[in-house]
Amino acid sequence: MSTQDNLRGALAGVRIADFGWVLAGPYATMLLSYLGAEVIKIESRRRPDEQRIAHRAGFSEDLEASSNFLEVNLNKRSVSLNIATEEGAALARRIVALSDVVVENMRPGVMDRLGLGYSELVKVKPDIIMASISGWGSTGPLRQYTAYAPCFASFGGLANLTGYADGEPNTGTSAMDARSGTAAAFAVLMALNIRQRTGQGQYIDMSSCEALNSLIGENVLEYVMNGRSPVRQGNQDAIMAPHNCYRARGEDKWISIAVATDAEWDGLRQAMGDPEWARDEAFASTYGRWRHRDRLDPLLQQWTVQHDPRELTELLQKHGVPAFPSYNAEELFADPHLRARESITEVKHPVLGDRLAVSPPWRLSETPAAITKTAPLLGEDNEYVLCDLLGLSQDEVARLAEQKVVY
C-alpha cells in the first residue's frame, strides 16, 4: 500500500453502484464512502431521489437545494441514468460490471422488473455483492408491504420502548432510517471481507424491522425467557436511581444524571453540599434509591434547576458522577469537545453554501475517514462514469441525453 492509498481510505479501490434513495440506502453507502469506497449514485430526473425535493412544507422544484439530500449523500458521484428505459438499465448493468458492490432500497421485486435483480447482475459481475434493504425483507408474507422508518421502529419493537411510562409509544426520528442504513453498511463490509478471503460474492437480503429489533435483544429475551414484554419507562433504569433528565437553569435546559453505586451517590451528595434530604436512610442503598425514585427525583431537581447544565456537568464529573446535558443541535455544533475532536466539520456546496456538518463517526489512525467532497449535483459525474469508465464517446452521450436515457 502506498501512502497515497491509505490517504484514500480503508476501502480504496472498492466501487459501489448505488441505487439507494431516501435515507437508509444513501446513508449506508455514505458510511462506506467515508471509508474510501467510490460511490456512484444512479438517479434521474424521471425519478429523482425524494430527498432532493421533499421538504416538511411540501415539494421543491429545485433538485439542488436540499440540505436533507446533502446530509446523506456526501462523498458520492452522480450519474443521471433513466433506468426505466432498456438502454438506461443496460448502461447501469455496465456500471455494475465495473463495481464491487450494489446497494438498493426499493420495494422487493422492483430491481428485478428493471432487469437489475441479483440474478441479472451476477451474470455481468460474478463476484458482485448486492445488498437489498427493505422494510420486512424480500421473503415472508409481509415482503410486499410498504415501510417507512416509523413502521420498522414500531414492528421491530423500539417504539413500544420509547416514551413516558404513562404516555403513548413513540416512533422516534429519522435516526431509525439511519440505523437501518448502518446495519446494511455493516453487512456489506462483512461481505467484502468474506469475498477478500473466498473470492465469492453475495446477495444480502436485509429486513429493517429485524435490523432494529437486533438493537433491543435483551428485551426480546425477557419475553423468550420469562413470558413478559418490557414497556417504555421514560428515562428510568431497572436498577439505577437517580437515573433521569432533570431540569436545569435556562429555557428547556436539562441534565441527565445516572447513579449506580454508593460511591457515585456520595459524590452527588458532596457536589450538592450534603443537603439534609439526601441523608435520608431511605436513599442510603442502591435498592433504596431505586425504590424511592419518585420521591428522589423532584428533590434532586430542586437543586439541578438552579444551575447551568454545563457547569453542573463539570462539577458532577469532578465528583465521579456520570452526568451530561441533554444537548440540542445548537449546543452540539458549538461544543468545545466536539470541536476539538473535529466531530464537526465544514462542507461547501455550490447551492447551499458553506455549512457545518457532523463528520464521519470514527477516527482511524492509518486510513482516516473523511468527507472528501460535497453531495453531487444530479448527473455531475456523467462524463467520468459514461466516458471515462464505460468508454462512451461524447456524441454517444449527447444522443442518450436527447433520448432522455441520460436524463
Binding site: 415472508g140 419493537g157 404516555g167 426480546v220 456520570p322 445548537e330
Partner: protein, 402 residues
Amino acid sequence: MSSGPMSHLKVVDASSFVAGPYCAKLLADFGADVVKVEPPQGDEARRREPFAGDIPDPERSGLFLYLNTNKRGITLDLESAQGREIFKRLVAEVDVLIDDRSPAEAERLGIDYESLRKLNPGLIVTSVTPFGRTGPYREYKARHLNTFHSSGQGYLLPMNSPDKEREPVKGAGFLADYDAGITAAIATLGAVFWRGAGGTGQHVDVSKQHAAMHLEKSQLRRYIDNGESPDRTGMGRLLETLVKAKDGLYVVIILSSEIQWKGLFEAMGRPQWGAEPPYNTQAGRSANYEGLRARLQEWADGLTADEIFHKIQSCKSACAPVYTAEEFVNSPQIAARDFLVPLEHPVAGKLSYPGRAYQFSNVEWRGERAAPLLGQHNGEVLGERLGHSPADLVKLREAGII
C-alpha cells in the same frame, strides 16, 4: 474453531456491558474467533436483568447472553502483573482487540494502543468510549442515559410532544450503546479489509457520543438551515399518527402523501372521502383534523392492530403495529425468515435469540454456541493457545488471576 466465514479472524473482546461486546458479537456471529476477557467477577452485564426464570444469576442474564453469543470466555485479573502479562501474550497473536477503557485507564494498565502495537504491529485496536480518546471530555463517565442525551437524540424525544413541559427521554433500552457498537464494528471491518489488502494494523477510536450524533444528522442539520434547534415538539419527519386498536395495541399510520390518505380511506371503507371536500386536500384535512382523527380512532376501536395493519397495507398504504416483544417473536414474518436462532446454554437452557437481520446467499453458518460461562474456556485458551500447563492453571486460579 468455528466453520463460519470469518473463522480466520482472531479477536479479543476486553470490553464489558453493551457497546464493545455488541461490536465483538457482530463479528462472532459470522464465525470470528472471539475470546472474551472478563475480570474474575465477570462482565457488568451479568448482573443485569432480565434473568432466565427470574433467578438472578451471572449465567442467566438475558443482556449478557444476547451480547456474547458465539464467543469463548476467559477470566483474567488485569490488576495483577501476571494477569496483564497473560493478556499481552494473548493480544500479541490476534488480529483485533476491542476495548472500552478510558485512555487513562488503558495507559495505567499498560494496554494502550502504543504499548500493544510494539508487541503486535499488525494489531487493530478498536476503542469504544463515551466521548472518544481525545478532547476535554475524554475521561468523563457516561452511562447509556448520558450518552443518549449527549448525542442530541434525547432532546428530540418523545417526538411530537404537545409542548416542552416534560423532560426529554432516552431511546429504547441501551440503544445508543448498540449504535456505538455497530458503528465501531463497521470501522473495525474497514480496518481488517485494508490490512487484508496489504495495509497495516491501526487504532480505531470510536466516541459513543459522536456515533449516536451522526445517526441524527438529518434532524440536526435543521439548525444549520435556519439557526433554530429542532426540539421534541417539532415533526421529526413524515406526518404520521397513532391509533389504538381494540386489543390495546397501537398502530402507526403514515399520512405523508395523497396516496397514503387515499389508501387509508379505502381501508376504512370510505373511498369517497378521497374525492370529496373537505378530506380530499391537505388543507381540508388540516382544517378538519380533529374530526378526522376521531373518525379514524372510531374505526380503529372495532379492529385489532393486525387487522388494521393488513387492511391498510392491502390498500397500498403504509402502516405498522407497535409490537411488544411478544407479538414480534410470534409474528409469522419473523418465523418465515427464521430470524430467531435457537442456542443451547448449560444454565439458561435452550433459548431463541434475535439473529442476523441480513440473509447472506453464500453463508449458511448461523452460529453455534451460546454465551460463555464465566471462565468457561480458561483451560482451552490459556492452556492450548498460550501453553499453560494444568498445574499452571491451578496456580493462576489460586492466585485469583483467572
